[in-house]
Amino acid sequence: MLRLPQFEVVAPSTVDGVVEALKVPGARLIAGGTDLLPNLKHHLDRPPRLVTLAQVSALRGIARDDDAKVLRLGARVTLRELSEHPEVRALFPSLAHAAGHVASPTIRNMATLGGNVNLDTRCRYVNQTELWRQGIGGGCYKSEGDVCHVVPGGKNCVAAMSSDNVPVLITLGATIHLVGPEGARALAMADYYHADGLRHTHARDGELTAELRVPYPEGPRRCEYVKWSVRNSIDYPLVSVALRFDLEADDPRSAITGAHVVVGVLGARPRIVGKLEGALGKALADPAVAKLVSEAAYAQCKPLPNVPYDPAYRREMIRVYTRRAIERMAAE
């Protein structure tokens, strides 16, 4: 079988203990391990130490904070818990849906929210064995080489942000709360990612994700997450679009007051679709909205051959699935 490299495992019971344990250079966090362990088996990293969150009960819960009007989601909440939690389902149905469509039931039992928002970027030329990477001529920027196989001549890594939950959390205005040697800080999820497949988040060395906070809806709205992959289970998304429309009244025929569309599985950063102002003031059920928004997504999103399936097809499908999602919301 594919073997893991050797590493030390430490299991602190407090967040401070985790921060302390992470001070060993190269140490990595492990929670569910569903992303990290396959990558280690592919020899994409060789951490001397894994710091497990298994004993850190402080990171586990889902709690309402009615003063701050946010739902607090602990980093160690599993994707299954997230997808089944009544408050999450009631307040943020698109998040529950996305979490419930990651990989497979057994993986969702192990995988955590903190791990999923920090899911390493993925690429068909990276997530392979050493023999395979040797076969294509010796790896790339993200493994042991110094080229890019996706964009010949490319100077940086364009591996794909492949989390199902990240686009949704951005549309919902979530913040990510980090704890590190220099204390705690928060960032908007919209600002957490940047376009470098080697290091696609703004987390600093030694920082861990403690929780996500998602603000309560301030008024009526409609949210959706659409994922297309070849299979209905196990697969990473090949098309991934999160949508949120704020409405004047709880009726799709009422006017749109805010529009948020975020697309994943492009490069290392999710794409926040811009230029949606034209939709504001129009009824969600107005066919012009579906057209305008889906055309904007199509125009602004350019999938790469970093994951399987023809990028031109995937680009077209961003348009189709976006339009259909809006039509579905409008019909409800």
Binding site: M1, R124, I136, E295
Partner: protein, 815 residues
């Protein structure tokens, strides 16, 4: 011979005490089957379900070493030198072998031994084995592999079979043993006046088809363990479906006499044809065990399973099929290129099968096929469930569907009309016995509501039909010999139990249960009282293995013969004590019963004890050999001939999303003529599993290498090689048709491979019915479906085609 259907009333009355070992001895009293044809728990089901089955990788022996194979990153290269000294010097490393230790080539087909356990002077595909290390643990073995220095001189690699065939450069001949460049095998056979009949046909359908490579995807990776006993016997446990051939090839390559080798097949976690020949790991662990004196284990990684492959050949097929206006098929002309990969494997047979197995269920008046197998720098192709004929079946069934449209005939009627029928000969001179194809067609037609629903389904929804046939074993074994093709030994003991010794490989298809069912039926004891000891070359009679769907018919017949011999002995001993004619004794329900006075009965144990007292130890053997009058009298005419043929019809219902190209298969009705279902649920499972496997090939799977990246496998993992999950799989309605065959035990024929074939073209034909596009290559991936839809839309716009179905026009994908 085995003939369970014989009417006992024909037999003269016989009083117990007469000699009973005559092969033509009259039958005893017959009763309704009490086990046969019912639903049984597989004999190994509980262990499997509880997770306590010991697979090959579960074997752990004292002092056992772990081996790893260093594999080539090049698709085609000369090996200039291998320096393993640094690896050998590492602590914990016990031995290293290279191709120099395995200079004798082997191959499953005796005429094409063209591979070595490890590459001798050159590597022929990415993943070819170069050296093997045995070390104290896997990590040490992996580190030692990394320390081996191999100097390669890369050569131009061929990934396209036609390009490979064109090459005349001897230095670029891929396979080191090939004598005809990159030509692996060419077969051309012609029966009747093909050109004349095609010329005289009212309609000739021409088509070009491409069947992409697919692989088996068994959940258990290949694994082997070798141990040299203190007495010098080499024991090899291997996840194989052909322990006998492995035994032979080990003896040949290691130059050991066969009696010094024992091969055992532990319970398998799936095979599907992917374990039906020897692989590098078996030779490596054996050699390293001999060299180090310690047991050695090697378990493939999933990537290695993909590179060892032996899956379905990619086939490019050109078909011309002639029809008379009334739908009668006149002639079929086929030209096929098979992409063989780097080694022959079963390729000689595959090349024949790609033509020879297609002459039923439809009657061809004339037939020509021209099949060429090329070597390429890819993992070797071989047999996968439905060996050789799944690809041409795809072409033939779409050709028929196109003809049905062109002639305005219902596709089921067209098939019905061309059915070759029972008790006949095919155009290539194969004798066909029983044939339940008509019933298969009718069953799926009725169950699906074809007649009423098909005309009513709107644009985007459709029904498609396809039919097929398959062999129940081949008439001639892989290596020519006159010995029986199958043999079984059965022993009864005084506690009332039976032990069955059989060389047959149970690969999950349930062959051990099938043997137990036959013995239970004949000897009146329940399955719980029967132990099947199989696939151990020291304990069991030789069997050729689990391939070509041979076991139920062949090993079943051998088992039936032995069981009936024992039954006669037992009945005779009971009859003697009761002073009644032997045929009054009935064995059932763990008892021997007087058929005319059921109150008189004894336990099976008592009956067996009486018989043992009369006859000594109760052991019998049975063997089976094939009838030799089934094949054609021409070169190659024996290849593909079988004692009996199964028949299948698939009817698929699909929904096509015209805007995304996504095809959803909603339901598949499948009726399969297996002659007689000896164990009903197992047969249904085989039908469902085959149908599912075909569905996956139709929609998702692609076993391909990437020529732009050195010929690496496009995705050698279960994440990237997409086999459908439970949630993707359509509802499958499996129906059993029983057209009993005189050559099968109780009339039984195969059920393990036949029900795959027509699954794929049925889906293709349903897609046509839904949206009017022909998908002549697999898989039917959404981009490909969408492209075909657009092509049709463009032709409709130009007025070349009418809209396919009334209703909303197909959408172009633009939002």
């Amino acid at each position: 011979m085995a003939d369970g259907a014989r009417d006992p009333s024909d037999s003269p009355e016989e009083v117990g005490g007469e000699p009973c070992d005559l092969p033509e001895a009259p039958e005893e009293a017959r009763r309704e089957p009490w086990v046969l044809g019912k639903i049984h728990r597989k004999v190994d089901a509980m262990e499997r379900m509880r997770g306590i089955t010991r697979y090959t990788d579960d074997l752990k022996l004292p002092g056992m070493l772990h081996a790893r194979i260093l594999r080539s990153p090049h698709a085609h290269a000369k090996i200039l030198g291998i320096d393993a000294s640094a690896a050998l010097a590492m602590p914990g490393v016990f031995g290293v072998v290279t191709g120099q230790d395995f200079k004798i080539p082997y191959g499953i087909i005796p005429w094409t031994p063209d591979e070595n356990a490890l590459a001798v002077d050159k590597v022929c595909h990415v993943g070819d084995g170069v050296a093997c290390v045995a070390a104290v643990d896997e990590d040490t073995a992996i580190a030692a592999c990394r320390a081996i220095k191999v100097e390669y001189e890369p050569l131009r690699a061929f990934f396209d079979p036609e390009e490979a065939l064109k090459s005349r450069d001897k230095a670029l001949t891929i396979n080191p043993y090939s004598r005809k460049g990159n030509l692996s095998k060419h077969v051309r056979l012609e029966f009747g006046d093909v050109d004349g009949l095609l010329d005289g046909s009212d309609v000739v359908i021409e088509g070009e088809y491409f069947f992409e490579g697919t692989t088996h995807g068994a959940i258990e990776p290949h694994c082997a363990v070798a141990l040299v006993e203190p007495n010098g016997i080499l024991t090899v446990w291997s996840a194989t479906q052909v322990s006998h051939y492995l035994h032979r090839e080990l003896a040949k390559v290691l130059q050991l006499p066969p009696h010094r080798i024992r091969v055992i097949q532990p319970p398998l976690g799936g095979a599907f044809g992917g374990k039906s020949e020897p692989f590098d790991l078996e030779f490596c662990v054996a050699k390293l065990a001999l060299q180090t004196g310690r047991p050695v284990k090697l378990l493939y990684t999933r990537e290695e399973v993909f590179y060892s492959h032996r899956g379905r050949h990619p086939m490019k097929m050109r078909y011309r099929t002639g029809f008379r206006r009334d739908g009668t098929i006149t002639a079929v002309d086929a030209k096929t290129i098979l992409d063989g990969g780097a080694y022959s494997s079963f390729g000689l047979v595959t090349t024949y099968y790609s033509g020879q197995l297609l002459c039923a269920p439809y009657n061809f008046q004339a037939y020509r096929f021209d099949s060429t197998r090329a070597y390429t720098n890819k993992p070797a192709c071989g047999p996968k469930r439905g060996h050789g004929s799944v690809q041409p079946r795809f072409a033939i069934e779409i050709q028929l569907d196109k003809a049905a449209v062109a002639l305005g005939i219902d596709p089921i009627e067209l098939r019905r009309q061309n059915d070759i029928g029972p008790g006949t000969r095919t155009v290539n001179e194969f004798k066909v016995g029983s044939n339940g194809f008509q019933e298969c067609l009718t069953r799926v037609e009725d169950a699906s509501g074809w007649k009423t629903r098909r005309p009513a389904l709107p644009y985007g929804q459709g029904l498609g039909i396809a039919g097929s046939t398959y062999i129940s074993g081949t008439n001639y074994p892989i290596y020519p010999n006159e010995m029986p093709q199958a043999a079984v030994q059965i022993c009864l003991d005084r506690s009332g139990r039976a032990r069955i010794f059989s060389g047959a490989n149970d690969i999950g298809q349930g062959s051990n249960t099938m043997l137990a069912v036959i013995v239970a039926e004949e000897l009146g004891i329940p399955l719980d009282d029967i132990r099947v000891l199989s696939a151990d070359t020291d304990l069991c009679p030789v069997d050729l293995g689990a391939y070509s769907s041979r076991i139920t018919l062949m090993v079943g017949n051998a088992c039936l013969e032995a069981a009936q011999r024992l039954r006669r002995k037992v009945c005779e001993s009971v009859a003697r004590r009761w002073q009644v004619p032997r045929r009054r004794v009935v064995l059932a329900g763990r008892m021997a019963i007087d058929g005319q006075d059921p109150d008189r009965h004894v336990s099976s144990a008592q009956a067996f004890q009486w018989a043992e007292a009369d006859h000594g130890l109760l052991g019998e053997v049975g063997s089976y050999n094939t009838p030799k009058d089934r094949h054609g009298d021409y070169r190659g005419g024996t290849i593909g001939a079988s004692p009996a043929y199964s028949f299948t019809a698939h009817l698929a219902e699909v929904e096509v999303d015209a805007e995304t190209g996504v095809v959803v298969v909603k339901k598949i009705w499948v009726a399969h003529d297996c002659g007689k279902a000896l164990s009903r649920r197992i047969v249904e499972g085989q039908i469902e599993g085959s149908t599912y496997m075909g569905f996956g090939e139709a929609l998702m799977e692609e076993h391909v290498v990437d020529p732009a990246h050195g010929g690496v496998h496009a995705g050698p993992s279960l994440l990237d090689y997409r086999m459908p999950t439970f949630t993707d799989t359509p509802e499958i309605a499996a129906m059993i048709v029983e057209a009993g065959d005189e050559n099968g035990p109780y009339g039984a024929k195969e059920a393990g491979e036949g029900p795959l074939h027509s699954s794929i073209p049925a889906i293709a034909n349903a897609i046509y019915d839904a949206v009017g596009i022909r998908l002549d290559r697999i898989p039917f991936s959404p981009p490909r479906v969408l492209a075909a839809l657009r092509e049709r839309a463009a032709r409709e716009a130009r007025g070349e085609l009418p809209p396919h179905k009334p209703g909303p026009a197909p959408q172009g994908g633009a939002a």
